[in-house]
């Protein structure tokens, strides 16, 4: 049963990476969109694209954390004790990102929007870097077992963590650019389609390059996970590479339909490759999944909750995405006349 819960945990991590990761990636494109005038259209597209979905996407992170601490409490204690610094930065970055995004949407003076936009965008880079660095700390065996603290600095400032952090940022940017092509096309904005197609192509190449370099870094720095990637996880590595190359090919040939699915495939299979490579350890090579697992009844509860989520959450998410993709969630508030014959009252506030 602990295997099944580990699979559930990785499913949540994957969902967060391909959904929430892209929301951070959109923040990355926001950051590099240039000055207020030049960056206005891409920023408006970013606002429009992630506005309705980022909070729902964000819940996958909560879900993954809750599964981790409920089903594998010892691993959670070790992780939080060891990578205290990047976790704190990630938490504060999440606050700044989410809050400033909401503020920016609700404010209208350009100077105010610029301040919150800058906070939103820079924290959108900080957070995925921190998460990737934490993943690197775990993968490279720098988080000890037994609810003990590892080194507070070298655990996440090391070659594997740097690769993990950079990879997380670039992969998020890649996913976001690919998604934003679709959003721009939906809004019939040809210029933005080309804009993000160029960026998607570039970030695909960069992400692929980082992953490639990462293989050598892992070879030198994280031998257990490297050996796993080179053996039992090899099919997933190959699959990821194929998906990545496939999506790149589609990106180079407009209209690039299908690039989105292949991009998701490329990212998801990298994450699963990591999981399979460090199997059977949750903290290589000190703590096995089976040893870290909570009592059976707790694991069963987690599985039941996940089953309910599959039945309730997945269709709800599908509804959200479907309505969003059909442009039925165009913005907050309303135009005049949204409720049948009812029209907005214009003078109620005149006092």
């Amino acid at each position: 049963m602990d295997d099944a819960v580990a699979v559930v945990l990785f499913t949540a991590v994957t969902a967060y990476a391909v959904a929430g990761g892209a929301d951070f990636g959109a923040g990355f494109w926001d950051l590099v969109a240039g000055g207020a005038a030049r960056g206005e259209r891409p920023r408006a597209l970013v606002d429009h694209a992630i506005g309705p979905v980022w909070e729902a996407n964000h819940v996958w992170l909560i879900f993954a954390l809750v599964i981790l601490w409920t089903a594998f409490p010892e691993a959670f204690a070790s992780i939080t004790l060891t990578v205290f610094v990047p976790l704190t930065l990630v938490a504060l970055g999440i606050v700044l990102r989410g809050a400033s995004f909401a503020f920016r949407k609700s404010l209208f003076a350009t100077s105010q929007r610029r301040v919150f936009g800058a906070v939103f965008a820079s924290s959108s880079v900080l957070v995925p870097y921190g998460m990737g660095a934490i993943a690197g700390a775990i993968a490279s065996g720098r988080v000890p077992a037994g609810g003990e603290a590892g080194d507070p600095w070298t655990s996440w400032v090391n070659p594997t963590s740097i690769v993990g952090g950079v990879l997380a940022v670039t992969v998020g940017a890649y996913l976001a650019a690919v998604y934003l092509i679709g959003d721009a096309r939906r809004l019939a904005d040809g210029a933005m389609v080309d804009y993000f197609r160029r960026r998607a192509t570039a970030s695909a190449v960069v992400a692929g390059g980082v992953a490639f370099v990462g293989i050598f870094v892992l070879h030198a720095d994280s031998s257990y996970v490297f050996d796993g990637l080179a053996s039992r996880a090899l099919p997933l590595v190959v699959l990821s590479a194929l998906c990545g190359i496939g999506s790149l090919t589609l990106l180079l040939r407009p209209p690039s339909r299908g690039a989105r699915l292949l991009a998701i495939g490329a990212v998801a299979s990298v994450i699963w490759a990591w999981g399979v490579a460090q199997w059977p350890y949750i903290l290589p090579t000190g703590l096995k999944v089976s040893a870290a697992a909570a009592p059976q009844a707790t694991l069963a509860t987690v599985l039941v909750v996940f089953g309910v989520a599959a039945v309730v959450i997945v269709p709800s998410l599908a509804l959200l995405y479907a309505l969003d993709q059909r442009s039925l969630l165009p913005g907050e508030g309303a135009d005049p006349g949204p409720v049948g014959s009812v029209v907005l009252d214009e003078q109620t506030e005149i006092a």
Partner: protein, 488 residues
């Protein structure tokens, strides 16, 4: 709260425990302010929305639409401050989570489901105004209300479990080896605590939102829009208040029977006795005697169990070993917080009664400026009462984090850098709090300056033409002028 009042050591003391407590207390105290809005605002918005569709009520529609826009901001901030708490369980209390995660985590797994539903449907509702049909759009709001209730019941289950831990088996090393998930979730304290917090969410949320419109009415904005904006949330709060008194009273009696140390602190009882007076204010001095305050003879005993009257024996603080009960300072904190909660709750009850009686006899809300002034501070009073109630339950549990099983000092992180994160968190949260208020106010001003126009004029989507006023609007403008003699 008492976590902030550690003694000695100076500001750079590296003992992580008080800093961890301080940071947890601070972040929870901030987050809990947003909780009532997250839980109950959607309900009040749906009331307005329902009225808008059923009665073709434009004011109600405008209200629902604006509320949903404000909710987008408060929900986003609530979501991220809630996420910080999730991280803090590990960052501040790794030994607690490592030992108890298998049991304590279960309510949070359930809560995760509700949070998911809430996040999904709040997006559908907030962003669905323009293009969804009215009734389907209305129904996308209903799961938010259900999820808000479910989420509250789940989170409080975790807190109740800390007060009344159940549903686990320990081995000799003190490790959790077996768990009964249902007993964890539905622990003995859960029904009382969860209902108390749920009603509090509606009470505080209602008073908070109504207070904004009460201020508007005091400034002379007595149009129908402000009236509705006041009536809907205030009615919800006025119904919740008497319910809360009954629920709170039941909870207090349960605490008397099941958490005697907390109860002794609440009632400021140093020694076990019968005929215990109810002490209003007052404190324990260094010798552990009650000093100051107003004593009502026998009332604490009588309230604890009316069937035995003033003969009811209340256990005193001295009935428990010194290392298993709150310190004198903590006792004083609990007692003061209790007085604040009950005092403010009573005042809010009187305000609700005023409103209710006026409604019964005059079929209208009280119109006097005194009432509006009271209503305009009711929001703050509600928030304070809630903070005080939460202080009672948390500080009253000290020194335990899991009552009878693990002490706070054994649960905290060993990381001596916590004081840095504490400072960083305080700075960021204060900036956040100021910004939230400024943003909400700027939204409100913009709504007003646009004369009810909700369209985001400088967003590149959905530009719109100016529209001549309809006959209905002209009629309403007349009414507004009649009911509103002069601005300000």
């Amino acid at each position: 709260m008492s976590a902030l009042s550690f003694s000695g050591g100076g500001i750079l003391a590296v003992d992580p425990v008080p800093w961890a407590r301080g940071q947890m207390a601070f972040t929870l105290a901030c987050h809990i302010i947003l909780v009532p809005l997250g839980v109950s605002w959607a309900f009040m918005t749906l009331v307005a929305n329902w009225r808008a569709i059923k009665r073709d009520d434009r004011d109600a529609l405008l209200l629902a639409q604006r509320w949903s826009k404000y909710m987008a901001v408060t929900f986003a901030v609530g979501a991220v401050t809630g996420t910080v708490l999730t991280f803090e369980f590990g960052l501040l209390w790794p030994r607690f989570m490592g030992t108890w995660g298998a049991a304590f985590g279960i309510p949070f797994a359930v809560e995760g489901l509700f949070f998911f539903i809430e996040a999904i449907f709040i997006a559908l509702y907030i962003f669905g105004w323009k293009r969804l049909r009215p009734w389907p759009h209305f129904w996308t709001g209903v799961p938010i209300v259900v999820a808000g209730i479910g989420g509250t019941l789940s989170v409080v289950a975790a807190n109740a479990w800390m007060n009344e831990p159940a549903g686990f088996t320990l081995n000799e090393a003190g490790e959790v080896v077996d768990v009964d998930p249902l007993k964890v979730f539905f622990n003995d304290a859960w029904p009382y605590e969860a209902s108390h917090m749920l009603v509090a969410a509606y009470l505080v949320g209602g008073f908070t939102i109504a207070s904004v419109y009460a201020v508007g009415m005091l400034k002379g904005r007595r149009d129908r829009y402000h009236r509705l904006g006041f009536l809907i949330p205030f009615t919800v709060a006025a119904i919740a208040t008497p319910v809360q008194m009954a629920v709170g009273d039941t909870l207090a009696r349960w605490v008397y029977e099941n958490e005697p140390t907390k109860f002794a602190a609440i009632e400021l009882v140093p020694e076990t006795d019968s005929d215990v007076p109810e002490t209003l204010l007052g404190r324990l001095d260094a010798e552990g005697r009650v000093s100051g305050g107003i004593r009502i003879p026998g009332l604490a005993s009588w309230l604890s169990d009316p069937s035995t009257g003033t003969g009811t024996v209340v256990q005193g603080i001295d009935a428990f070993p010194a290392d298993e009960r709150p310190t004198t300072r903590e006792v004083n904190t609990v007692h003061l917080a209790w007085d604040v909660m009950v005092g403010l709750g009573t005042l809010l009850f009187l305000l609700s009664a005023w409103y209710g009686l006026t409604w019964i006899f005059r079929r209208d809300m009280p119109q006097s400026r005194l009432f509006l002034r009271a209503a305009s501070v009711a929001g703050v009073a509600g928030v304070l009462a809630m903070e005080a109630g939460w202080t009672v339950t948390e500080v009253g549990r000290q020194p335990w984090i899991v009552r009878g099983h693990m002490k706070v000092e054994d649960a905290a992180t060993t990381n001596e850098g916590v004081w840095i994160t504490f400072v960083a968190v305080v700075v960021i949260y204060l900036a956040l709090a100021v910004t939230v208020v400024l943003v909400l106010r700027s939204m409100s001003r913009r709504f007003r300056s646009e004369h009810g126009d909700l369209v985001d004029s400088d967003v590149p989507y959905g530009p719109r033409e100016p529209r001549p006023a309809t006959a209905h609007e002209a009629e309403q403008a007349e009414q507004t002028e009649q009911t509103e003699p002069a601005g300000g």
